[in-house]
């Protein structure tokens, strides 16, 4: 484990680079999960989206704040992803960016607030609830764990690690659920028995956030 680092603009860039890397690495897994209960495009769409984000980060001036990094992510995902993940993650990163304001560095409370804002954005956009077998099933426990950790005096990287662990557990717990939102909901009971691809990619993104901060993720 690396030393816990402060969450600044460089962290935000590392987070996105790490996300792009793990999304590419898990592209086939996400496609497979989406093939059985959706339209098989989640892995491809996300990989395309985050590759486009990296291309923009590499091409332009580095953004000035963590919020500016997240806003660039949001705008790029919205225009390049195509599937439901575009507007959902677009909204999540946009709300997360807004919650951070102009801050150059993110403390534990701000980190938890950022995750809460992203989660609330996904709920507002997709109108799914906990138990619907969607990314909300990863983001909601992640938000609760992050807030509990922040209140207990954890550091910002520890808050992210708590969120990542809870998101991962939440994604795994979607396996027996019957989908009630999105394309998978048309399958009814046949959607049970597989993890939700959106919940899995959400766990990957939050794990990348923690890894970029040097936080320990189980």
């Amino acid at each position: 484990m690396r030393m816990a680092e402060s969450l600044d603009t460089r962290w935000a860039v590392r987070w996105i680079q790490e996300t792009a890397r793990v999304v590419a690495e898990n592209r086939a897994l996400l496609i497979d999960l989406d093939r059985v209960i959706g339209d098989a495009d989640h892995g491809e769409n996300l990989d395309r989206g985050f590759s486009a984000v990296i291309a923009k980060l590499d091409a332009g001036e580095p953004p000035a704040t963590p919020a500016a990094v997240l806003k660039l992510v949001a705008m790029t995902l919205m225009s390049t992803v195509g599937g439901a993940a575009g507007p959902l993650y677009g909204t999540a990163f946009l709300r997360a960016a807004t919650s951070l304001g102009e801050a150059g560095e993110i403390d534990a409370d701000a980190a938890a607030g950022m995750i809460r804002a992203a989660r609330d954005g996904i709920v507002a956009r997709g109108k799914a609830e906990v138990g619907d077998k969607t990314m909300v099933d990863a983001w909601t426990p992640a938000t609760e764990s992050a807030e509990t950790a922040a209140q207990a005096g954890a550091t910002a990287p520890e808050v992210l690690a708590a969120a990542a662990n809870a998101a991962h557990a939440g994604a795994v717990a979607t396996e027996p659920l019957i989908a009630r939102k999105g394309r998978a909901s048309y399958l009814g009971e046949r959607s049970a028995g597989h993890q939700d691809p959106g919940a899995v990619s959400s766990a990957l993104i939050l794990t990348a956030a923690a890894a970029a901060a040097g936080g320990e993720v189980a």
Binding site: D39, D41, N45, M78, S79, T80, V81, G82, G83, A84, A85, G86, P87, L88, G90, T91, R125, G126, G182, R183
Partner: protein
């Protein structure tokens, strides 16, 4: 200028097809297809594009407002996001209809063609739900599914209809002389012509102001059209339909 429509679908072809279909009944309405997602050069892939929807709304602006119709999931969410990004002033004249794409687009286009207001066009789109029970080959009509608690396509006239319920009544029956019967264009002619009349009109039991419900009757050549009307303009409505049917809607017999 009338109200314009933007059709958002995962499929570029669906969006273009819906525009093509609706244009047949609404030649003067601005109809913009915003389907599929960009993927560099070559054909669009399946998906929805923030930029395409944004550009579509921009292209459709300038008239009496814009109604956006969508198909599934991300099309709805992408359209919502584009609306959130509009300037407040522009936002006021753009509506996202919660409607079945094909039925809603046709109903909306016909009303827009008839000069309906933005609210009326949205209501027409949201009220247009028709499906058919194939085993019976009889139209099964559900308004409630589109807008629970509301009457459906004829809502625009619901208050007028309520007042009209005590008014004079009129009726009549005619045989369809034209080869094509009561197909899309004649249905649109009737619905549009009745829209402004202060009367509750049923044609073979369905709302005569709803082009979708008229089409759903599936009345072919030689079938009987039976009209019942109630309200101040009841006689005018019956006369209008009678003349239109007798003339075969200007189509070959």
């Amino acid at each position: 200028m009338s109200v314009a429509l933007v059709i958002v679908s995962h499929s570029e072809k669906i969006a273009e097809g819906v525009v093509e279909l609706a244009a047949q009944m609404a030649p003067d309405v601005v109809l913009v297809a915003a389907g599929g997602a960009e993927d560099g050069p070559g054909p669009a892939r399946i998906g929805t594009s923030f930029e395409r929807v944004q550009a579509g709304i921009e292209q459709a602006s300038g008239g009496d407002g814009v109604v956006v119709l969508t198909d599934l999931g991300s099309a709805v969410m992408t359209a919502e996001m584009v609306l959130e990004f509009l300037e407040p002033e522009a936002r006021e004249s753009v509506r996202l209809a919660q409607a079945a794409l094909v039925e809603g687009a046709i109903a909306a286009a016909v009303h827009a063609q008839g000069g309906a207001s933005l609210d009326e066009v949205v209501r027409a789109a949201e009220g247009a739900v028709v499906s058919v029970r194939p085993e019976e080959f009889e139209p099964f009509v559900s308004h409630a599914a589109a807008s629970p608690g509301q009457g459906g396509a004829s809502d625009g006239a619901s208050s007028a209809a309520a007042e009209a319920s005590a008014g004079p009544t009129a009726g009549g029956s005619w045989t369809l002389p034209n080869q094509m019967g009561l197909h899309a264009r004649p249905a649109a002619t009737l619905a549009t012509g009745l829209a402004d009349l202060d009367a509750e009109v049923t044609v073979n039991g369905v709302d005569g102001k709803s082009v979708m419900l008229l089409m759903s009757l599936g009345l072919g050549q030689g079938k009987t059209v039976t009209v019942e009307a109630r309200g101040p303009d009841a006689q005018a409505a019956v006369d209008f339909i009678g003349q239109a049917v007798e003339s075969g809607f200007g189509e070959p017999a």
